[in-house]
């Protein structure tokens, strides 16, 4: 869609103007790192932030997501739970926008997931361009996520005195009508283009080949000894999937209310890297080997989703590598597989 602009001095009024109506979530500093949190004012927002510890998916697929409650009286009666909180995710970097965009496809595909879709349809996403690689293991350029291609309502690029604003949806247009925004003139377009060129050249490639080859490389590596070698560095902790913007697997559990006999069925983040993920009653564990679990994750990241949705389930944010105590880094594995 179209390109607009907003002067920097007007941004704070715009964001503060959203707060009475929406729950505004944005990156805030946490010691020497950052996290997406609900903010009370534009002042709290860290505009120059390096990637947050957890991606913003936690506001679309919360760690604990109640599906329905069950009241045994009269039936029993089951009440589905939908979170309709109007929410704005502000300041989302392009890698994370890509992450959300992929979740949108995954959770809408086939039997769609209304708990996600309900939250998503009540959420506006305002992205913000990062200016340089946030970490030395980020490989967003290789994964093609340097600029957003979908999954955002507005997307801001810093042009010095103002932001260029890409408008992604009708809801984004409506947001921009709240004031402060104006149509991009020739000068803004020029600057925006220059900013993009500068961004592109400012990011190094960190995978030694064109990632278009990745699905094939992974297919050929199915029986590679690399998986067994990685086994020696993994604890089955699931940190890598927890911090990944495209991981969404979940477990489903019941919780009882002791006083009333009511119960709640909820889901919570699970991880294919945990030992019991594929274990069944009767003792079989279909992915009991750590190397099989690692391979499964990497194949999901670099092959399965690419084949199904045309996009990788890895946006190159590097979070998994930074969270793994023995440095199992998707980027390194992708590089090693090529040999």
């Amino acid at each position: 869609m179209g390109l607009m602009a907003i002067d920097k001095r007007d941004l704070s009024a715009f964001i503060d103007g959203l707060i009475p109506q929406w729950e505004v979530v944005a990156p805030v500093p946490v010691e020497f790192k950052y996290a997406f949190r609900k903010v009370g004012s534009f002042q709290d927002v860290a505009l120059d932030y390096t990637n947050t510890m957890l991606p913003p998916k936690k506001f679309l697929l919360p760690q604990r997501d109640e599906l329905f409650s069950c009241n045994p009286e009269g039936g029993p009666s089951l009440t589905p739970r939908f979170d309709e909180t109007p929410r704005v995710l502000f300041g989302v970097h392009s890698c994370d926008v890509h992450g959300i965009w992929l979740l949108d496809d995954i959770l809408a595909e086939g039997c769609s997931d209304p708990h996600y879709l309900c939250r998503r349809s009540n959420t506006l996403i305002i992205g913000l361009d990062c200016k340089g690689p946030c970490h030395d293991n980020a490989f967003c350029k290789d994964m093609g996520t340097l600029k957003p291609a979908g999954g955002f309502d507005l997307f801001l690029t810093d042009l010095g005195e103002r932001y260029a604003v890409q408008v992604g949806t009708g809801a984004g247009t409506a947001l921009a009508e709240r004031g402060g925004f104006y149509m991009a003139d020739f000068e803004v377009r020029e600057e925006f283009f220059a900013a993009w060129q500068k961004k592109q050249s400012g990011f190094p490639n960190r995978i030694g080949y064109d990632t278009a080859a990745l699905p094939n490389i992974l297919a050929e590596s199915y029986d590679d000894i690399i998986w067994e070698a990685l086994e020696m560095r993994c604890f089955d902790c699931g940190a890598c999937t927890t911090v990944c913007p495209t991981c969404y697997c979940f477990d489903v559990l019941d919780e009882n209310d002791i006083g009333t006999d009511r119960s709640i069925r909820y889901r919570r983040w699970d991880s294919c890297q945990l030992q019991d993920f594929a274990a069944v009653a009767g003792g079989a564990n279909f992915r009991g080997k750590r190397s099989d679990r690692l391979r499964h994750r990497l194949l999901r990241k670099g092959k399965y989703f690419k084949e199904k949705f045309g996009r990788f389930a890895c946006v190159g944010c590097g979070r998994c590598g930074r969270s793994c105590l023995l440095h199992i880094d998707v980027r390194d594995v992708f590089n090693q597989l090529k040999g």
Binding site: L67, P76, G110, D113, F250, D251
Partner: protein
């Protein structure tokens, strides 16, 4: 609250009409949806059964869609939290049902063929749905053969029904147990032992295999050695399942969601999936 969203995770309410102990570990249930509707399943499909406040477990539908009853039937082994709670429920209790889910046996492809049913242990539960379907549509199928293996004679499921099948025209039934007791006069040993005694016409036969994971390799080998076409072998595979609708990720075999594309797969499909067998 009236919602435009309908959650696939919220079950329909159903009544446990009857609950009957089948063996020391398995119980048989007749279930009826509270809204009176039929389940509308295919043989080989499963449902997610909820015991509220305990959890949910995937269970195969054991009755045939052709059966005359008002509801459908399940046969459940007491294997953990949910299945144990189900065993404890009195008749008349309300449970939750989601589904039917997955792909069952390919009825159209099977039509006109001889059917060889190979069931190990609990595998007879989903197979029973298909067997009764074939018996009820006897004219649609050629010769029927059931090979059924169980741990001990006391573990044999649906003994009365197995006898009834034996009495059906052109239906050959053979059973074996791993561990015999004094009264057992039949075969002893793994299910592959039964293959020697069956007369099938391999080029007309479709083989349907359901059983524990360890069984598949041996059975497949025997089937292919008998000359059954690879393309006419169907397997029902078990995996950990949570959501049943292709979202939670637990059931995957490589990139295939068993809850969506299975549990019944043609062998030709499974052969290309390294994680399958």
């Amino acid at each position: 609250m009236n919602h435009k969203y309908v959650s696939p995770y919220v079950p329909r309410l159903a009544e446990l009409v009857t609950a009957r102990q089948l063996t020391s570990r398995e119980k048989f249930f007749e279930v009826r949806l509270q809204d009176g509707s039929a389940l509308g399943h295919q043989p080989g499909q499963f449902v997610e059964v909820s015991v509220f406040g305990v959890g949910e477990a995937p269970i195969s539908v054991s009755s045939s869609p052709t059966s005359q009853g008002l509801g459908f039937e399940l046969c459940v082994r007491d294997a953990g939290s949910v299945t144990h709670a189900l065993h404890e429920l009195p008749e008349g209790s309300t449970i939750g049902i989601r589904g039917p889910y997955g792909r069952g046996f390919p009825l159209d492809e099977l039509k006109g063929n001889d059917l060889l049913f190979v069931a190990g242990g609990l595998g007879l539960v989903p197979m029973r749905s298909m067997i009764n379907y074939a018996v009820d549509n006897r004219a649609d199928f050629g010769r029927l053969t059931l090979l059924y293996g169980s741990r001990t004679p006391a573990d044999l499921l649906f003994a009365d029904e197995t006898e009834r099948w034996r009495g059906t025209p052109d239906f050959h039934v053979a059973t074996t147990v791993d561990l015999a007791d004094g009264a057992w006069t039949g075969q002893v040993g793994p299910i592959t032992k039964l293959f020697g005694g069956v007369a099938i016409n391999p080029v007309r036969t479709s083989a349907l295999v359901v059983g524990p994971p360890v069984m598949f390799r041996f059975v497949l080998k025997s089937l292919l050695m008998m000359g059954v076409y690879e393309s006419r072998v169907y397997l029902s595979l078990e995996r950990r399942m949570k959501c049943g609708v292709g979202k939670c990720g637990h059931c995957q075999i490589d990139d295939v969601y068993v809850c969506q594309k299975g549990p019944v797969f043609p062998y030709t499909r499974v052969r290309k999936l390294p994680e399958a067998l």
